[in-house]
């Protein structure tokens, strides 16, 4: 589904409903559709009624711009449009841009004078939906200006009619009526069709929507905001998370490779907060594989070839919203103290995210200092110091890696 534009209104009888929508269809064969679309759209309410169907053809590009009330033969589009219509007319902000599942929508609602309506106002909205949120927000200015022009024209026409009818407005009970009687303009829907088609054409001439997706694509869960450790944990699963953190703390190279670069990037950023800055040479969206000395935390897209996991390398593949950790490391029975405390804190739901971050920062500082201190003292005298600092056997690998990284940057 590429861009679709619709005009919706709030019917006093039926609530929000779509009046007309315009979409593009490529190819010459639109006659079949014409008949099927017309037969199913029946409504008895004169405010919701719009029985015509309009088709404009762009000979050059083979694009058919089709307008009708509801594309009932496309059930997914219809139900999406109905949903968008309800949202746009009941939304507390205006204009409003929202995205849901794989679609997104720009909505502008407006009121129109109507001497026969309850309260002498009717609510309408114009919605533009497409799949690509970035494209839609990029087009915002252009669309907004255009839609506002359309709104103004409709409002002004209706106001003129209202002023003519005003003297009689108190005598008649409220009744619903169509947009063409509201504006006293029989061809209003044809006019709207040409406006909307023009917009679709103008928009597609400059930008086209192109979303590369495999046939196996299924919606990816929203993952990890920057710095949010818990969402990363739930995304990776507790076991993979544990092993990944352990590898990172002990100086293994971590490679995150995935088809969703946002996910990869936010995972890298989150992991980075767990170790001192100097222990982490992270690269996001690298063009090619980098050796551990250059980058020990590497985020790449699926187009980049990277080594298979070995003793020093842990790989995480994030594909189609699933992630899979691959490593040859043996699962060790005892974890470094820092890792233990860290994992415990992440599990501890009484700490909120902010507190958790502070807690981790404090732990990190503590072990940075320990690493620096241990490094200064000759090995032969260190046993008493280690005991005093609470350093145990399982911490040695971490301290070795940390003190080396901390020093290397200091000297360089």
């Amino acid at each position: 589904m590429s861009a679709v534009i619709a005009l919706c209104h709030f019917c006093d009888q039926h609530g929000p409903s779509v009046l007309i929508n315009t979409r593009v269809q490529y190819g010459t064969d639109s006659s079949k559709e014409t008949s099927s679309a017309l037969t199913t759209s029946t409504t008895t309410c004169c405010a919701c009624e719009m029985s015509s169907k309009f088709v404009s053809v762009d000979e050059k590009t083979q694009a058919n711009y089709i307008s009708c009330r509801m594309p009932y033969h496309l059930p997914r589009l219809s139900s999406w449009l109905q949903h968008v219509c309800v949202r746009s007319l009941s939304c507390e902000v205006n204009p409003c841009l929202f995205s849901e599942r794989e679609n997104c929508c720009l909505s502008l609602s407006f009121s129109v004078r109507d001497a026969m309506a309850r309260g002498f106002y009717r609510w309408f909205s114009i919605v533009i939906t497409m799949r690509d949120l970035a494209l839609l927000s990029g087009l915002w200015q252009f669309l907004h200006r255009f839609v506002n022009t359309v709104i103004k024209i409709i409002q002004e026409r209706a106001l003129q009619v209202y002023n003519l009818e005003k003297p009689f407005r108190f005598n008649n009970p409220p009744q619903s009526r169509s947009l063409s009687s509201l504006t006293r303009y029989n061809y209003i829907f044809a006019q709207i069709h040409t406006w909307f088609s023009w917009l679709l054409r103008a928009q597609t001439r400059y930008y086209t929507e192109c979303i590369p997706r495999s046939p196996y694509y299924h919606a990816q869960p929203d993952i990890a905001l920057d710095g949010d450790i818990r969402s990363l944990q739930s995304f990776l699963g507790p076991d993979s998370f544990k092993r990944l953190v352990l590898g990172l703390l002990e100086g293994k190279q971590i490679i995150l490779r995935g088809d969703n670069l946002n996910a990869v990037e936010s995972a890298v950023k989150t992991l980075k907060t767990l170790v001192p800055e100097k222990c982490c040479k992270d690269t996001i969206n690298a063009e090619e594989y980098l050796v551990p000395e250059i980058s020990n935390l590497l985020g790449v897209g699926t187009q980049v070839a990277v080594p298979q996991p070995t003793v020093g390398i842990i790989r995480v593949d994030i594909l189609q919203g699933n992630c899979h950790l691959r490593t040859l490391e043996q699962e060790s029975s005892r974890y470094p103290t820092y890792a233990n405390e860290l994992l415990k804190a992440v599990e501890n739901r009484t700490l909120n995210n902010k507190v958790l971050n502070y807690h981790i920062a404090a732990l990190k500082k503590e072990w940075t200092n320990i690493s620096k201190l241990v490094d200064r003292v000759p090995v032969e005298n260190s046993s008493a110091l280690l005991l005093a600092l609470g350093v145990q056997d399982q911490d040695r690998q971490l301290i070795k890696f940390w003190s080396r990284s901390l020093k290397s940057v200091c000297t360089s």
Binding site: F10, G15, P16, V86, S90, C91, R118, F120, W123
Partner: protein
């Protein structure tokens, strides 16, 4: 909630925004949930949500937790001048769904627009709606859901009365307040006393003698008089100042030998009572009792600024009502 054109927005405007009933003829149909904060203008602290009648909020695409989760009372408005079978269906669906989400919701059914009905058909309609609504609940095995019914109209005080009862159910200190009012009237030879929320004119408590519609209306009108007169003649230096302040009090003698007496309790609350003229010769005692009463009320609500301490309010109020001197 309620079907379209049942009068939801009208009720909200008339009770909380002082719209005159005739103006409601020109209300637009509501197209989104309209939330109004009552907390900053009056004593009772809550939000009122006015729902559009045309949109089905029970649809799974709406988050029922957001709608019913924080809800204290659900007012369902039924247009009594219209065929109400659809409304009853909707009532049933709404109530059962809300109950699933939140068992603490109080369900209030307003049988509305009864101004167009004769006295007999009012009773008949209430009986019929009551019967059918409860039958529906029993049939679907939801007997534990309790519905309260009120006959209302925006053209008289019934809507204020009904809303008063709804709001009272949401005030945890109600028993203490009623107790205080009982003590107050028995020691001052007062016939009937109300504690009013001035802005909305709903009464948040009254003594335990039955409420007679006429005396309630009299008291409402008295508040209007006080506010209007003070608005015109009081405090001209500061046009922004509220017409009702801690100096406010008023005394009206009716020619049938009764007296209406109003005293300010705090910025939001007024004490209004009705008593016989013969019993008013000892006004000093009544005024003294009132001061004690006001003191006690303040103690009851001393914690209401910190809602999380609501639990201890019960104790405070019990203690204060015992120490009430007469």
């Amino acid at each position: 909630m309620g079907l379209r054109r049942s009068g939801k927005s009208s009720i909200q405007k008339v009770v909380f925004q002082k719209m005159s009933p005739n103006e409601t003829l020109f209300l637009e149909s509501t197209n989104k949930i309209v939330k109004e904060d009552i907390s900053n203008s009056s004593f009772v602290q809550f939000q009122i949500w006015d729902f559009p009648g045309q949109i089905d909020f029970l649809d799974p695409s709406f988050d029922s937790d957001m709608i019913f989760g924080g809800c204290g009372a659900l007012v369902f408005v039924i247009d009594a001048q219209d065929d109400y079978m659809d409304a009853l269906n909707k009532l049933h669906l709404t109530v059962t769904k809300a109950y699933k989400v939140n068992q603490n919701v109080k369900f209030e059914v307003f049988i509305h627009k009864v101004d167009g009905l004769t006295e007999d058909s009012k009773m008949e309609t209430q009986r019929d709606i009551h019967q059918r609504a409860n039958d529906d609940l029993t049939d679907s095995g939801c007997e534990q859901i309790h519905l309260s019914f009120h006959l209302t109209s925006i053209y008289d005080h019934s809507i204020f009365e009904a809303f008063s009862k709804v709001v009272q159910k949401l005030i945890p200190q109600l028993p203490a307040l009623e107790n205080l009012l009982n003590i107050m009237i028995s020691n001052s030879a007062i016939e009937k006393a109300f504690l009013f929320d001035v802005v909305s004119k709903i009464y948040i408590a009254t003594d335990s003698s039955p409420v007679d519609m006429q005396s309630y209306e009299l008291c409402c009108d008295m508040i209007d008089v006080v506010i209007d007169v003070s608005g015109i003649y009081g405090l001209q230096e500061e046009p922004e100042a509220p017409a009702f302040d801690n100096q406010s009090s008023s005394l009206i003698k009716l020619n049938n030998g009764t007296i209406l007496y109003l005293r300010e309790v705090n910025r939001f609350l007024a004490f209004v009572c009705i008593l016989r003229e013969d019993n008013f010769d000892r006004q000093g005692v009544i005024d003294y009792n009132f001061l004690c009463f006001r003191e006690a009320i303040q103690q009851v609500f001393v914690n209401s600024i910190q809602p999380n301490e609501m639990a201890c309010n019960g104790e405070t109020s019990a203690a204060s009502s015992k120490t009430e001197p007469t």
